[in-house]
Symmetry: C2
Subunit: 464 residues, 2 copies
């Protein structure tokens, strides 16, 4: 691969230019990697923001990334590793000896350190944790003891707590003195009672403005939420959104403050959960721009196979009406319309339902009303298209009976599309499944079946 090919592989989205990686710098980095010029790579990369370094590595040809990890991997900021996507991170970690990696973990918040350690195989993990400081090891093992996608994985052990009886001055002095041991960044300090239970929170901007003699208990407000580390991350994200939180305290089983969750992790969670829903609705397991053909096939073949089975069932049902189709070939011409309109209407309802479930707006309490609305919408849309399609049938095929058939079939299919589009995700949710996964294929299965069977069945009854 020439340098010019490498450049072709790099992004240059103009909307990107306001922030992010400068293109000419990227050119230099690829050149320096091509020359295996470690000192130049250091000069170019190390002053960059870790997120920019990660972006550059993510978009660079694999060969460039390999050379960079190989030559200066140990000098890259720990944050760079925290920013990389899973696949590239796994690749990158192979270039760092366990002891060096253990040192890097010291610079990270618990959640980021745990995410990196989670990537290692058992042997490497044991080696790295053995080389890490006691604090880091305990914190990381603690985080990994919680399930993925729970609050425990998002939590950092670093936080600022002050006893109830302190005043503003004491608190600020304590923070000035402690210095290094405080988290890098924090936005609220938590006020704890003698059992270490968080009973109040004070935004730092409020603390700093207050007179030094004011007592914390007069300044604090009860935390909007207190998080159990086993809570699903989606629930936590919803609370952050609703209350506009910047951070939230996490407590252990005994109610003692053990960590905090900050909004930057929540932003990532919200983005990931939304992306998951969008992909799942389309029948894609997961996706990254870095995927190869092979990983793309792996993430899409399963749902296409399910779709094949449902399509075979539909074909089988159509075949039972072969006799009708042979007699009136117009049925073969019009039947895909009934199925396609139903499929689209069902997908619309499904998207509305999945959005509302994700936003926690669709609850057992209002679901009856929403189901009624969706069926109502299906009936209204069905009536509109029943009129339009029966007109088409009369004009095109000069057949009133065909017009009646298609009108009834489309009205039926769009009503059922509304019903299935909301009931299927609700049922999946009720059964503890992710409503975005698999509901798409089920809904179009229903609308295909109803579309073909209703149209061909009614035609057989009415026309033949």
């Amino acid at each position: 691969m020439t340098v010019m090919d490498d450049l072709q592989a790099l992004g240059s989205d103009p909307t990107h230019s306001e922030h992010g990686v400068d293109r000419s710098l990227t050119v230099k980095v690829i050149g320096a990697a091509g020359d295996h010029d470690g000192p130049l790579l250091r000069r170019l990369l190390l002053p960059m923001h870790p997120a920019d370094i990660a972006e550059l590595l993510q978009n660079a040809p694999k060969e460039t990334a390999r050379t960079i990890f190989n030559l200066i991997g140990e000098d890259l900021d720990a944050e760079v590793y925290a920013e990389l996507e899973d696949e590239l991170r796994e690749f990158a970690l192979e270039f760092i000896p366990a002891t060096k990696l253990a040192q890097k973990l010291e610079d990270l918040d618990t959640d980021d350190a745990a995410a990196i350690v989670a990537e290692l195989d058992d042997e490497d993990r044991a080696e790295v944790l053995a080389a890490a400081s006691n604090d880091v090891r305990v914190a990381v093992e603690g985080a990994l003891s919680f399930d993925e996608e729970t609050a425990g994985r998002l939590m950092q052990r670093e936080f600022v707590a002050a006893p109830l009886h302190w005043n503003v001055g004491q608190t600020i002095d304590f923070m000035r003195k402690t210095g290094e041991d405080l988290p890098d960044l924090f936005f609220d300090i938590y006020v704890v009672d003698p059992t270490m239970a968080p009973i109040g929170a004070i935004p730092v901007s409020k603390l700093m403005r207050a007179r030094r003699t004011i007592l914390l208990k007069d300044l604090m407000e009860a935390p909007e939420i207190i998080v159990d580390p086993e809570t699903d991350q989606e629930v936590v994200a919803h609370a952050f959104q609703k209350y506009h939180l910047i951070s939230a305290p996490v407590v252990d089983r005994a109610g003692r403050l053990t960590g905090m969750i900050t909004v930057d992790d929540i932003v990532r969670v919200i983005q990931e959960e939304n992306e998951e829903d969008l992909l799942a609705l389309a029948g894609v397991r997961d996706a990254s721009t870095a995927d190869s053909v092979w990983s793309s096939v792996k993430s899409r073949l399963p749902w296409l196979c399910v779709n094949l089975v449902t399509a075979l069932v539909a074909s089988f049902l159509i075949s039972t009406f072969q006799h009708s189709i042979e007699k009136i070939v117009a049925l073969a011409v019009m039947m895909p319309m009934v199925a396609s309109m139903g499929g689209n209407a069902g997908t619309q309802t499904l998207a509305v339902a999945v959005r509302a479930l994700a936003a926690r707006e669709l609850t057992p309490g209002n679901s009856a009303r929403i189901i009624a609305r969706e069926v109502g919408t299906g009936i209204v849309n069905g009536a509109v298209f029943a009129m339009l399609l029966s007109t088409v049938a009369i004009v095109w095929f000069k057949s009133v009976l065909l017009a009646v058939t298609i009108a009834l079939a489309i009205l039926l299919n769009l009503s059922i599309a509304g019903f299935a589009g909301i009931l299927i995700p609700l049922a999946l949710k009720h059964a503890g499944q992710d409503p975005a996964v698999s509901s798409g294929v089920l809904v179009t299965f229903v609308t295909d079946l109803v579309g073909f069977v209703a149209f061909l069945g009614l035609a057989t009854l009415i026309i033949l």
Copy 2:
């Protein structure tokens, strides 16, 4: 409607219980509204968090909401109005006199005040702004001078700036003295040069820990981004995500600091943009749990009409092969499979493309590689299903020629599905359109056409 009916209309999602509105409180509120008991409503509602009040109002029967706005609307915190969804907010604002509303705006950040004023019709808007203080009027008019969905609308005019030559002690003393006029909450202070250009940012938690004699210029770091108010909100949101920002400075044309954007607004933007994409991909214009049948029909009928046209085109093309179908009815039986598999594969690619475009991972630089990957994925999946479906054709219809036909058709359609699924959103994006809107219908149009025409055309050539 009885009280029990009202209760049925209210949510009780158990996963909701960790935060949010207590059900027994809701019962009391609905009862008090039924009795038109203003004092009781005040006692029940006013101590609640504004977001919880808004949630309760949002989920309550319209009659309850009306009574509450009518009786105690003027006493509700301004934040409650900021939290309501557009439709209910518009309804609520009718109950507040212009002068009272103008007073409420004083309590809000610029972006929230502007969002409320934007909801009013021209006459009410003029009245409210005339009644507002000079500061609020200028700030709100300033915000409304920017397009919707730009940084200018997200920006608040309240921020903390300090000159370059100050030290930590001076800055903290200034903030203690200014008190009231500072924003309620802030996370960074901006360091400005004599022209008011923001040249540095210091997190409040860092400022507070620093010794009083340290100069700001020794503590600050260059802001990760400096936002132009005309920037699209998605671009700003992407920068917040990438750099884990909590706030960012906004400058005017002359480069002077004029406001800041905070992460809580960005969280809302990320959620909204994601929801928009999900709904748009399914052909829904917008959706809310509060929608009636009528508004649901309005937001879905347009795309169903487009779908009708594409379905008619597909039917017309099928009709040109009537002769073939009459001879081999197995064609009618198998043709929906080819179209359906293609539609699903195309939708998968489309979802992957829309996600990558939204995440700014799909750029002109790497699009050639991604297009190649998608076509490659289509070819591999196509080959898999060509084998499976030709086996089906042989077993079911005992026809090698039909097997060859369907194998070729499915291979062709899945390859084109991959190509169309990525090229259509890229082309829409290139043309300045939202790639999530309308690409779904275009992609399935392509896969329907190719599916039917390729299968029936090849059958006519090969078998007949």
